[in-house]
Symmetry: C2
Subunit: 476 residues, 2 copies
Amino acid sequence: MPELPDRKTAFFEWFSAVLEQAGITDLRYPVKGLNVWPPYGFLARRLLDRALREAVEPLGYQEVSFPTLIPETELAKESEHIKGFESQVYWVTHGGTTPLDVRLCLRPTSETAMYPIFSLWIRSHRDLPLRVYQVVNVFRYETKTTRPLLRVREIHFFEGHTVQTDETAADRQVSDDLRSFARIAQEAALPYLLCRRPDWDKFPGAHYSIAFDVPFAEGRTLQVGTVHHYRDNFSRPYGISFELEDGSRAFAHQTTYGLSERLLGAILGGHGDDRGLVFPPPLAPVQVVVIPIPGKEGREGVEAYAGALVEELQRAGIRSKVDGGPDRPGAKFFTWEARGVPLRLEVGQREVSSGNLSWTDRLGGRGKVPRTDLVPGVSQALEQFHRRLHLRAQETFAAQLSVAQRMEELTPPGHVYLVGWCGKEDCGHRIEERVQGGLLGTLEGELPKVLEGRPPSPCVACGDARARWAAAGRPL
Amino acid sequence: MPELPDRKTAFFEWFSAVLEQAGITDLRYPVKGLNVWPPYGFLARRLLDRALREAVEPLGYQEVSFPTLIPETELAKESEHIKGFESQVYWVTHGGTTPLDVRLCLRPTSETAMYPIFSLWIRSHRDLPLRVYQVVNVFRYETKTTRPLLRVREIHFFEGHTVQTDETAADRQVSDDLRSFARIAQEAALPYLLCRRPDWDKFPGAHYSIAFDVPFAEGRTLQVGTVHHYRDNFSRPYGISFELEDGSRAFAHQTTYGLSERLLGAILGGHGDDRGLVFPPPLAPVQVVVIPIPGKEGREGVEAYAGALVEELQRAGIRSKVDGGPDRPGAKFFTWEARGVPLRLEVGQREVSSGNLSWTDRLGGRGKVPRTDLVPGVSQALEQFHRRLHLRAQETFAAQLSVAQRMEELTPPGHVYLVGWCGKEDCGHRIEERVQGGLLGTLEGELPKVLEGRPPSPCVACGDARARWAAAGRPL
């Protein structure tokens, strides 16, 4: 295999190369930004989708599916929303050779597909809350350079939509959604900031937007998902109202929760290294690979032994695989490391005879487990690996954060700056100019360690003492 | 609830009404033929998708995902294929306000999206066979009247694609695929004919096509799926070739296997009755509903008891639900019958005291099961119900088949005619004219009971004795 580009100095080249090498994606489709998911990549996506479903279904979300095509007339009903999207949607203009009466866009997100139907589903307070989600592909006509998983034109997307009786109920839903993301991030071993976006950068049509931001590569930050509170901004134009217990009518309040394949990009781009991908065990398509090492006694004994191990692991629900192919063991180690498999067991004659198995994890950790203790031993090794991976990611994350008290400190790029901000738009724009990027917004939820116990600094731009902690960086 | 249209005299009105009433689909989306899948319908679809995955993965198929958008230049590479599809695809012509250099179509099927990439994946005989599938939505600009699940413009679709070394290997794959469908049809309690389509009706680009046809409503037949053998018709224009062991090169042979949401339409349209839907248990979103019947002792006792039953059933993997809502029991019976739930348990004070539970199945069967024997008793009732449903469907199916020896017998419409056919196109077209429909093709696999042990009749059109059994009807 060809040598990988250097992750530090050429991140995006490295990223494309490791994704292709591991079989996560194939970038050779004849339209830029439309990528192929080969079997290994698809399995990774399927596991992440499953984790999302398991995180939101306990909150009462039910899965649905709405059409891919949205008529221009519906897209246009909420004025900010259409302004935000009309320049970046794909337009279907013809069916066969017939021009369509009303143009159809490929959904960039599904508010305008769902809400006309929600207005029919919801009659009374007894129909609320409504919580639905779909896992679909959405489309954006990207004009910037496309990047696999990070900026594509057909985007694999989780979108949750809820309808609530009032603003407070919608606020509660936002909190629930944020908590459910914490569970996903834990499985993904992924640290993140919760940033309440400034008004000029919220979702088109939203009352407020809270984003999950990750300090990423080349001094960039990566937004991997968002939760939005819409108040009644959509329910009014789309007529989503209901009868209260006292017989009066009110417009509903709405929230959404969106996560895209970027989340997988953040996981793989964040944990990967010079040897390729590193999967956190809960999301690894293969958690354990068993490599038979044939010795002078031949291959059959070790292969049968390896097969029995994998069978036992699989019965216990551990995704595992024996690599019985013709390559030399060294080449197999290389391949499965590149694919990010958390744990490798090597089975040679010595292991067969001693009944003592050696494992190596993807971060270079090593250990032994008695054959008789296979499942608990391997489970424990996977858990340890998961913890170490998370810890390493937290350290990398912390090193990218920089607390700044003065405007002069907002340089060089390559950091996410934590600053006091008074909330004024003018100060926000001055900060953005200074970091040559964006004000990600005020921090919500648990603060990063470096800020724990520290009262907010005065506004870094104007010195106003009534400031809150905010983050600023260069979004990808 | 409003009374349902009559299934016998107004099938399609009945069908739309029962699907909407049960929450399988919502037809009120503002574009005709693009339907919404509410939670209950989505769950039915998810279960059927799971059954498909479980049927094909043991054959070595791996799941993948290819782009929704196909450039016109790729669609056009195989000449028959483009002729078959160009008049019925949706065309994307603009990204934002920018006209695209090359128009993109929404995939009507994915041969032309996948095969350029297959040509890169396949180098050597060691890469073969390749077996992949995807479960995606495809798009057809339908100009005929749309029907929910049966003829829509955005179609939920399973498509399997394989690449084989030669024609024989591809034939074997076709046989495997046909067998995997038998398993799905068994779960769906669905009888069907295997028809090898006449040449003038095969898939555009195929060497041969075998369809799964079901005699359906209003004298129509319904094609619920197909398996195609492409020979090297696609591998040549798309350059899918490989190196053999002796170092020479050959073009691959290919097959595909397609099933659409029509399959769910056939299941629900075929089994449903005047009271609504009837789900076969393996595909039922809710297999057992438990209805508490409050008596003079109040509701709490029976509700707690019902809750405990459902918990035990769910632990055993039986999809079940207690309906603790405010409606009267009769209204609940009505609702869950309409939704097609196979089995209902009623829990009143008598059941609680006696520890003896009564069940009613969706076909009106009744029985008792001791509380202590809940899971095996309910499982057995579900299995019995499944067998009876299948038997009933087979009888209805058999009654729609009619063996005809002379052209004059190919009337009235309302039947699927089984005839001898010599294979000549001219005779085929005469049969088609006579039935005012299509020659579905020669029968493959196991023959319907009525033909068992009968040698084929001479050709019904020309009397040639060298004929095979064929079916003719009026495809929807």
